[in-house]
Structures are given as C-alpha cells and as structure tokens.
Amino acid sequence: MTTPILSLKNISKRFGGLLAVNGVHVDIMPGETVGLIGPNGAGKTTLVSLISGTLTPTTGDILFQGKNITALPAFERARLGIGRTFQIMKPFPGLSVLDNVAVGALYGTTTTNKSLSQARDEAMEWLRRMDLHLKAEQRADELGGPDRKRLELAKAMAMKPTLLLLDEVMAGLNLVEIDEVIDAIKVVRETGISILVIEHMMKVIQSLSDRLLVLHHGQQIMAGTPQEVLNDPRVIEAYLGKRRV
C-alpha cells in the first residue's frame, strides 16, 4: 500500500468555546484531488490553516509523506512541499506579478541558494502556463479578479509543492471567469500533485475532484465519490438543502 501524501489523525482545533474542527480523519493519496465542501463556518479554512501550519491543532497529528509535521512551523511545511492559496488573497501588493511568483521559486521547496534571475525565469514559466505572462511587469495589486486567482495559483506552483491547498479560489468570479480558472487548476492537476480544493460551486467541485469530504460544524459527516456524496440525504440536509432555500 502506498503511503498517503497527507494523513490527518483525529485533528481538532478549539477557539475558546468553539470547536471549529472536531476529530477529523483524512488521507490524501499521491496525485489525488480531494474536494472539501461544507456550509460557511464549517471549519474548512481552519482545516487548511492547520495543514499549512498557520494554526496548530489543539489535539491530533498531521503526517506528511509519513512524517509527523504537527509541530513544524508554516515555513518548514512549505519547504517540505505544502503550498496553499488564501481565501482572502494575499499577494505581495507592491511587487510586480513576476516577482510575486519569483518568491515562490526562490523559496518553496528550494533548498539551494538560487539566483534571482533563475527564480524569475522559473516564475515566467508559470506565468506562461497560467496565461499571465503579458502582465508580468504589472504591480500585483493592479490585477483584476480572475488574474488575481491565477497569480495565487502561479505563486503556489512556483514553490514546486507536492500538495496544494486551494481555499475558495473561485470566490467573487463570474461564470465565464470560473471556467477560465477551472482550466488553470486543471493545468496544475496535470503536473500530478495532490490537491485539496475547497469550493462552494458544485460545478467546480464535480469537475475537479476525485473524492469529496463534507465538513459540518467541524465534523466530517461524509466522504466518498462526488456522486455518492452529493446524493446523500445528510449532505443535502446540512448543506445543499440550505443553499437551495
């Protein structure tokens, strides 16, 4: 049996009186794209932050490629190969689009002392794949909606991660833009890395995920193929039902 890229073992996170994540077990296999859905406040972003190391769990263990990383700070997890995007986008506003991505190439899983021009070359490569190369010299805060999302993807991918966490990348986009960004994510998926993707839009989740997890009040209420999950009465009640009202 292959070892999972990521194993969450009974992970919980408490904020004061609130159990934002409650006893979650997850395995993500190499090359797998796992969708994470759940209503607002379910604990999805918290779970991503626990994996990326921005938050530390109250209880439980996180294994990355079989190695316990629960106590590692975020930057060391990034070096091991965990890349993420932020629900609230976090570009480097005053830097050019190219240099934003170059940070990922210069750091990320890179261990050697790479030169700036080498990092910029790699960054340019990802800008091309994300169709952003014509805007390389613009300031990052001058980009519009879908370009910002593509920039986030390029930044994370320039880190050469083995696991990518995508937290509501599509938020705020219109339908045409969503299709563009789905294509961009497919480019990312074809590199063979594992992806955990959080999304509200069922269309996005269905077209990207091999497997779905459902979080509700911090608890994982269901896991399975998109078909199984989306037809499950518990899921419909907890999540889809409410949204259809």
Partner: protein, 315 residues
C-alpha cells in the same frame, strides 16, 4: 543612464575621498555628521525599508556602539578598534535577545515597543557605574577630522554595498516579501523570524559602528546623547524621504536633508525648522516612496504621479 550611473558613482566617491584635501574644516565637520546620518539611514533602510518594520530602536544600537567605544577606551584602556568591536558585540547580543520577542509585534506595536526599549536602555546606562552613570564618559582627544571623515565615509560605503547586495540577494528578496505580506511570505517558505532578527542585527551593527566613531569624534557621551530618539526620527525621515527599500535613496535623502537643515539652522530662526517639517510632510504625501521612486517615475507619468500617490491616502 543605466551605464552612466556606475561611472558617476565612482566619480562622486573619488571626490568624497579627496574632500579633506579640498575643503575647509567647517565643511569636513558638517560632512562627518552627514555621513553618520547617511549610515544610520542606510541601517534603518534594512529593517524599515526592506523588512517593513518601522524601528524606533536603531538609536539604541547607536548608543550601544558609543558606549562600547567609550567604556573600552576609558575604563579598560583598550584601543579604539577594539572599542568598536565591543560596541558591535553589545549590539549583536541586544539584537538577538530583544529581536525575537519584539519582532513578533507588528505595525504600530513594534514601533512603540522599540520606542519603549530605547527609554529603558537610557535609564539602564544612567545607573551603570562603568558607563559613568548620568554624568557620562569623556574620551581621549584625537584631533584628526580627516581620519574621522575617511572612517565615516568607509562605513557608509560598506553600508551601501551591503544594501546593494541585499537588493539582489535571496535574503533581501525574502525581507521584501515579509514587508509586502508576512503571512504569505511565511507560507511560501520564508523563515520570517530568522530573517527579521538577522535584518535587525545587520541594521544594529551598522548603527553601532556609526555610534562608536561618533563617540570618539565628539569625545563625550552621556545617556541622553547616546540614546537620542530625535536621531532615530532623523534617520527615518531621511530614509523615507530618499526612498525606503532603495539602494541610494537613504544616502541621497541624508545628504539633501542634512544640507538643507544646516543652511536653515545657520541662517534662519526656529520658524524655519517648522517650515522644514512642513516640507517633509508634504514631500511624504506627494512621494511616499521617496525621491528615487519619483525620479524614476515622474518622467513617465508626470504630475499624474503625485495625483496617484495622494489618492492612495484616500484623503
């Protein structure tokens, strides 16, 4: 223009090296002071301009450097060079010990914490026998402005070369990423704590050396002059006016503002310094990224440059 710059710089440095044999003693004394301020502005540039941490603690390093030289020379009878090293050791210890807790704070909290530390250090040295308590220490007299001038110039050149290296190194790029968005930098693999402490230490070493040279030149230090907050304010104004995060901005800012304030203080009254303050405030509003940025972008966007900047303040 790009090719001309190195030639121009070498020319300027050549003239500066030769200055003691060209200019009179008054100008040299003014220049020693201006070079010191430029070095301090350059040091502040590393932590404030690159890493984005507005430090009010850099005058602490200046004070530690001053006391390093003064204590070594007066109390221990050691040569000046050893005194400089003692000051650097004080500063490095301080930067490593205080940097870790203080650099956890962000924005205004960091500024206020460093401000408070500066007061604490002044109080501590006022009560140290070895530092002459609040009376201070009198250093041996060395009448050689040429020596002090050349030393100050060498230090500024070293400081500027360090910042030049920063501007094209992985380390400097990481500091800029921290300034632009610390959380994102951290989750992209930048060891933010280590980088910030290193930047603080590097800035501290430069400020400390400037303080050591200054103490020997002035031949007297006390807690108030060594841990002078107005010095910290000056270095910030000069670095910000010239262009924080740029290589030459802080030097140009220091040169210009030293010159202007010298002219005003010798010819005009205190109303003039009020006017001076007003000019700086307006300059910072019109060109928040300093002279160097304005120099590069004004030819392209003309007065839209200023309008764009004012809009950023959402006045």
């Amino acid at each position: 223009m790009k090719r001309l710059l190195p030639v121009l710089l070498i020319g300027v440095v050549g003239v500066l090296i030769a200055l003691p044999w060209i200019a009179g003693p008054t100008l040299i004394q003014f220049a020693i002071n201006a070079l010191m301020l430029a070095t301090l502005a350059q040091g502040w540039n590393i932590i404030g301009g690159f890493a984005g941490y507005a430090s009010f603690g850099n005058s602490i390093f200046f004070g530690l450097g001053s006391y390093g030289v003064a204590i070594a020379m007066v109390q221990w009878n050691l040569p000046f060079g050893v005194g400089l090293a003692v000051g650097v050791v004080f500063s490095v210890v301080f930067a490593l010990a205080m940097g870790v807790p203080v650099l956890r704070l962000r924005g205004h909290y960091f500024a206020i914490a460093t401000l408070a530390l500066s007061q604490v250090m002044s109080a501590i040295f006022s009560n140290l026998d070895i530092a002459g308590r609040n009376i201070g220490l009198v250093l041996p007299l060395l009448r050689s402005d040429t020596l002090f001038y050349e030393l100050s110039l060498a230090l500024l050149i070293v400081a500027t070369l360090i910042v030049f290296w920063l501007s094209r190194s992985r380390f400097g790029f990481g500091l800029i990423a921290i300034r632009e968005n610390e959380d994102a930098a951290q989750s992209m693999g930048v060891n933010t704590t280590r980088y910030k402490v290193l930047a603080f230490t590097l800035a501290g070493i430069l400020s400390s050396l400037a303080g050591g040279i200054h103490a020997y030149w002035i031949t007297f230090i006390d807690p108030n002059s060594a841990f002078d907050l107005s010095l910290n304010v000056k270095m910030i104004i000069m670095a910000v006016f010239g262009g924080p995060g740029s290589v030459l901005g802080p030097v140009i800012g220091a040169a210009l503002l030293s010159g202007v304030s010298e002219l005003l203080s010798s010819t005009l009254s205190s109303v003039a310094s009020l006017f001076f303050g007003l000019v700086i405030v307006i300059a910072v509003i019109l060109m928040p990224k300093g002279l160097t940025d304005c120099w590069l972008k004004f030819p392209v966007s003309r007065w839209h440059y200023f309008i764009h900047n004012i809009r950023q303040y959402r006045l």
